[in-house]
Subunit: 405 residues, 2 copies
């Protein structure tokens, strides 16, 4: 059997070009602090460094150094051409002159960063801004070179608001995510209850079979990392990041939370919950409540709204439906959403007392759980706009799965 | 068209159980140093923390604390049941008593680690061992709590030698990797030269089409993260970690370096190079040289052999075939291999002056490159044994791709 449940979006054959990073907010933070510069250290899987450099380099630490008007990437020599292409040639016109520095390649990234900073910095200052979680060895190299570290949230802040190019990346990943979900829904709809089993192509259906169908569908559209296909069934649907293997029984909640990563590092995030052969008990009540809370939360999303209000309104709706809020095990146990970008979880928090901004990309994902029964969550990924929100891609909300077209 | 080129291994339907981690080498390092304990801080994608805890928890930092006979994981409350299952219940009998600590959940991981260490440590010592790259903010919390940090390589050292359970994980991932390669080879064999194009199902073949075929095949066998399918064609075959999109022309080297990550975090790593419609020039000479160097390198792999010898012997073979060694652009530009485990690149280095040990898992991957023409690399993943090596999975070496069975 192949096919998708109805309502999945079409996807473009090709992924958009990599977004460019405007480094001027980092350069401005350096200038405002009167600092010599900013230093981030990490390797190609570190999200901040990936965002700042757009460099898909080695599995060894390298550094990004930014001063008030210049920026350097300390690439290993084997990767210098790739670094020139990705960091320098592809850069936007943001007033920050970029270069690749390959000297001292075999030395530690922190020492190389200190040397480059000595060379680039105009400011008469010993202060260097860094993310708080810079590797400790890199911090010590900077301190030994005479710098005093001061932590900055400038990168987190810059990442809060997405550009059009970032939205295009996120949208395509989310559209492919919807197609993965449509594949799972089609498989569930084709499965036949048989005693305690759901039979799919003659075999008892498991979450692992479902996961492989989802991941293969997404891979066929160019998603490169499908390592976050969380699927719970019955009681494991109450475990938030569960990726184990379970037998799926009729009448159980099957919760799929699909968060793949696209070629340029941006994530999708989509959750649906289905039940095959429900007898209309807890899971039906939970679904109705969560669907209402999801809609209520969405109506509160717009630029200028207080982020925490979105959570509170979802919680109020779930309370009105008789579900608990204050427990870590039963009811609505988590926040209503989080930002998504080159990290799966980033700002803004939807529990914070700060206003949402146009260009924030957030999940809206209320859920209720009972570890003895199951869990229901419904999640969409939306971009905040001046007067509301836009879904990055849309997929129907259905309790009973529908057959392939 | 579907199908695989001949010679791909069969794979078991299910992935093996997660390996357990013997924490006694870490506890011994604490005792030997007379330290209060060991602390690692990271989130679920940080390789050390994943290895130490086997916990697939949240996208927020947590800590693993180990003393001479106890160990604690500071899990967030939402994940305490999962932490108990994965860190405590699944632990081996290694003399280290494990527990999950959920107090102070909303505080920073470094402060929580310091509190747990205050509570667990017997030793009358202010020294705490940490990996050198512990996040700087966590290091500061530990220092503010009165501890003096001392960096340790105990975790890297423990990871050097794989257990039977780790070898089983690596072997299945590598077997699935071979099937991904077999899919790519079948597609290449089915492609028809047409002027400057290779036509596959009527369309000009690109590296992206090939990548999607590989990744979908691996996903269908339960590989969860196929984000490292490096494919170069012609000149981009000379770029080591290149994942861009290229048109594939007849006569060009097509280099596929496939490094997916399995469900428990272990990587596979396999490289083959094919040419469709070769006229027998540089690429044929390069292939013959690299195949000979690959075989020569393998004959030098055994427990007790000096690691660097493996590199030197491969280099000598390539020199004998007339290829350069000392350049960063032309010839043999990189090391002959590296360790693989829960990191794609880890110890041992095959350039080091230290003996190989039984249970090391290393790639053997000589290659030669000319940025104006292309690149050829052949790579297998092997476990070092007392009297030689064993491939974790085998796949034929062929220059001209062979059709699907």
């Amino acid at each position: 059997m192949s096919g998708l449940a109805p309502g999945a979006p079409e996807v473009a054959a090709d992924h958009p070009e990599p977004p460019q990073t405007d480094l001027s907010p980092i350069a401005d933070a350096v200038e405002d602090a009167g600092a010599a510069g900013f230093v981030a250290v990490g390797y190609r899987f570190a999200d901040d460094v990936r965002y700042l450099s757009r460099f898909g380099g080695p599995d060894r630490d390298y550094a990004v150094v930014v001063t008030a008007d210049r920026a350097a990437l300390t690439a290993p020599g084997l990767f210098d051409e790739q670094a020139e292409t990705e960091f320098v040639d592809a850069a936007p016109d943001d007033g920050v002159a970029r270069e690749v520095r390959t000297e001292g390649q075999r030395g530690p990234a922190g020492r190389r960063a200190a040397n480059v900073l000595d060379d680039l910095a105009d400011a008469d200052s010993d202060t260097v801004l860094t993310p708080a979680d810079i590797p400790h060895d890199a911090a010590l190299y900077l301190e030994n070179a005479g710098y005093e570290l001061s932590s900055t949230t400038a990168v987190d802040d810059a990442r809060l608001t997405k550009t059009e190019a970032e939205l295009a990346c996120l949208s395509r990943v989310q559209a492919v995510t919807c197609r993965g979900m449509a594949r799972a829904e089609a498989v569930l709809a084709a499965a036949e209850p048989d005693g305690d089993d759901l039979l799919f192509e003659g075999e008892p259906l498991t979450t692992e079979i479902l996961r492989r169908e989802v991941d293969a569908e997404m891979a066929s559209h160019g998603i490169r990392s499908a390592g976050n296909t969380v699927i719970g069934s019955g009681s494991t649907a109450a475990d938030l990041h569960y990726t184990g293997i379970d037998h799926i029984a009729p009448g159980e909640t099957v919760l799929l939370d699909i968060s793949p990563r696209g070629p340029h590092g941006y994530y999708g995030d989509l959750t649906r919950t289905f039940v095959v052969g429900s007898d209309g008990g807890w899971e039906r009540r939970a679904f109705v409540a969560v669907e209402a809370a999801h809609e209520e939360a969405l109506t509160n999303v717009e630029a200028g709204a207080t982020a925490g209000t979105v959570h509170e309104e979802a919680a109020a709706e779930l309370t009105a439906h008789g579900f608990r809020i204050d427990s870590s095990e039963v009811g609505f146990t988590h926040g209503v959403g989080h930002g998504v970008g080159v990290s799966l979880h980033e700002g803004p928090s939807l529990r914070a007392d700060t206003p949402l901004q146009a260009g924030n990309v957030v999940t809206i994902e209320p859920g209720v759980y009972d570890p003895d029964i199951g869990g229901v969550r419904i999640e969409d990924l939306v971009a905040v706009t001046e007067d509301g929100y836009e879904r990055l891609a849309s997929y129907p909300v259905r309790f009973t799965p529908v057959n392939a077209e």
